[in-house]
């Protein structure tokens, strides 16, 4: 009967009820929709970061990150790989790489790039590049002169498949090493900067050119469960002597992405706060108005012997209905607007140039995180009820005599 009463009371002024309900609906909808977009963006950012050669965890010579020169290479990769074999959980994959700064040039252009020597059979299970070939093919283990470059670099150099490209870099003897390669494949990446930065040759070719022998620059590791990253990083740090090696997780390797993730979390929180404050004020105002319109009624109920607590409960039941209804509709709209988006995602390529620095994708796929949905609903529901306590207490405070005298 209390619920029936509350339900009828909220429909005494349908317009007001609809207005405040729309506030709840818009609030919930925007929390869910924007939350999903944000998740989509950040998730893609992390994925891109990880797939663009970072991996979940990397092992370097202890000085490589500070000074990525060829002298700071891992000279005994077998020892490291043996440790990885012991420590990494089943399902993990890893690959060694040579990675140095170099200069690429052809007859028309030259430009600083990052030379990456990879083991083709292993690299294709770790990073994006093998899957990103749009012309030609990826490297084969036997390719002594093959090179894979990005589309943007090829365009800049006005070159194409089958043409030659010369790479120059300093070798371990501090001499300038230089070698000509033939373009066997062209890749595309989420970001133009990636296409311009990286060129790929086989690891053996790189080791030969740079006189590295069996030395490598880094080992990139992908775990089957990314949630184990922190724990595995710690385990590797313990196993690999810190005087020789440095072990870092992707959060440490991509400080920019990590910072942006934090910023986005803060942004979502702020957004929730803004939505909630706007909605909370609306709710308090509406409820106060509804309460003041019914002073006589509350006075009557108190005269009949109703306890203040019952009146508070009655007002809260009304807020409960407003919130639940608004939340139900807001959630449905939120999910609906995410599902009606094309399965191809939201194409932001027109905006992409401005956002590339942040590692953002050209295309966003919204991601619904149950954590976000639950938070949004919980925030609206719990805080919504909490702010309704104020008008409810006001209603319970009227004394019957003054309320009945009120006209």
């Amino acid at each position: 009967m209390n619920f029936r009463l509350g339900w009828r009371n909220i429909w005494r002024n349908p317009r007001r009820t609809l207005v405040i309900m729309s506030a709840v609906i818009i609030g919930i909808w925007s929390m869910i929709f924007l939350g999903a977009l944000m998740r989509g963006i950040t998730d893609q950012m992390v994925r891109n970061g990880i797939a663009t050669l970072t991996g979940h965890i990397q092992v370097h010579h202890k000085d490589y990150r500070n000074d990525p020169v060829i002298e700071n290479s891992i000279t005994e990769p077998e020892a490291v790989e043996a440790t990885l074999n012991d420590i990494l959980p089943p399902g993990s994959r890893w690959t060694p790489r040579v990675r140095v700064n170099a200069i690429a040039s052809n007859a028309r252009h030259s430009s600083g790039i990052t030379l990456v020597g990879v083991e083709p059979r292993r690299e294709d299970k770790i990073s994006f590049v093998a899957q990103a070939i749009t012309q030609g093919r990826f490297l084969k283990p036997v390719d002594k002169n093959g090179i894979v470059v990005g589309k943007a670099l090829a365009d800049k150099f006005e070159t194409k498949l089958g043409r030659k490209l010369v790479l120059m870099s300093q070798d371990t003897k501090r001499e300038i090493a230089s070698r000509a390669f033939r373009i066997v494949g062209i890749f595309r990446a989420e970001m133009e900067a990636t296409e311009k930065q990286f060129v790929f040759i086989t690891m053996s070719a790189a080791q030969q050119m740079l006189e590295l022998k069996k030395g490598i620059s880094e080992i990139s590791i992908i775990l089957s469960d990314y949630q184990e990253v922190d724990q595995v990083t710690v385990a590797l740090r313990t196993a690999l002597s810190a005087t020789d090696y440095e072990v870092q997780s992707w959060q440490e390797l991509l400080p920019m992405v990590t910072a942006i993730l934090k910023m986005y979390d803060g942004f979502i929180f702020l957004w929730f706060l803004v939505v909630f404050i706007a909605m909370g004020f609306g709710l308090v105002n509406t409820t106060l108005m509804a309460v003041f319109e019914r002073i006589r009624e509350f006075g009557l109920l108190k005269a009949l012997g109703m306890k203040p607590w019952w009146i508070i409960k009655g007002v809260l039941i009304e807020s409960f209905f407003l919130l639940i209804l608004g939340m139900a509709i807001g959630n449905s709209l939120g999910f609906l607007s995410i599902f009606v988006l094309p399965s191809t995602g939201i194409d932001l390529s027109s905006l992409a140039e401005g956002m590339e620095f942040a590692g953002m994708s050209r295309v966003i796929f919204p991601i619904i995180e149950s954590k976000d949905v639950i938070t949004a609903n919980l925030v609206v529901f719990v805080l919504g009820l909490l702010v309704s306590v104020y008008p409810a207490v006001k209603a319970a405070r009227f004394t019957p005599v003054e309320a009945m005298a009120h006209t």
Binding site: M1, R12, E297, L300, L304, M306, W310, P400
Partner: protein, 229 residues
């Protein structure tokens, strides 16, 4: 046995700078089963007396006892319980919850009293039948006439067998025929259910129904007579 006992109650209201002496020492004993009119011109203190007896307002001095309870010694919550279980109220207007039907309005006080649902429904029906509203269970107050609304209020006031029913000018908003009908109903309920009725009025026709007439003026009892019938 006296169901209501007022001894020298005084009440002063402050209205801005002015002090209004609403009650200047009222003493009143009312026996169980009485049908008592408190009569007087507007502003004489009728509402104040009824509110104090009903525990809605408190006297500045004096003693008020209702059904064996000393009101001056009770806290708000105890007073609310007393009103809920021992006193029925009929006000001049706005007696009913607009969004509840006649039946639900009567049921609602029983809900507050903690009467089980089936029992509550049955008793509400019976009492509405008693006041002649057997075909109006599902009407909302707005769909009832003024007289019918007051009947629902009477039904609600007596449904849980209170010791007294306080009715503050229950007929003030009714035409005289409807007012008489309501008085007759109250009289019938008083006789049938042995409920004590105390009602206020400034209408001579209404006073005629009372078995005891307490006249007050300027916050004092000026006349108190038992009428022969």
């Amino acid at each position: 046995m006296n169901i209501v006992e007022c001894i020298d109650i005084k009440k002063t209201y402050e209205q801005g700078q002015v002090e209004v002496q609403a009650l200047r020492g009222i003493s009143l004993s009312i026996k169980k089963g009485g049908f008592v009119a408190v009569a007087g011109p507007s502003g004489s203190g009728k509402t104040t007396v009824l509110n104090i007896i009903g525990g809605l307002d408190s006297a500045d001095s004096g003693r008020v006892m209702v059904d064996g309870n000393v009101l001056d010694e009770m806290n708000r919550s105890q007073l609310a319980n007393l009103r809920l279980h021992n006193i029925g109220f009929v006000f001049q207007a706005y007696n009913l919850i607009p969004v509840l039907s006649a039946l639900e309005n009567v049921e609602y006080v029983m809900l507050l009293q903690g009467v089980p649902v089936a029992d509550r429904r049955q008793r509400a029906r019976t009492i509405l039948d008693d006041v002649g509203l057997e075909d109006k269970y599902d009407r909302r107050p707005a769909e009832l006439s003024g007289g019918q609304q007051q009947r629902v209020a009477v039904a609600r006031a007596i449904v849980s067998n209170p010791s007294i029913v306080l009715a503050d000018e229950p007929t003030a908003n009714l035409d005289s025929k409807t007012g008489q009908d309501l008085l007759e109903l109250m009289q019938e309920m008083n006789e049938k259910k042995k409920v004590t009725f105390i009602f206020s009025t400034h209408d001579h026709m209404v006073m005629d129904y009372a078995r005891r007439l307490v006249k007050i003026r300027d916050g004092r009892v000026v006349d108190d007579q038992i009428k022969a019938r």
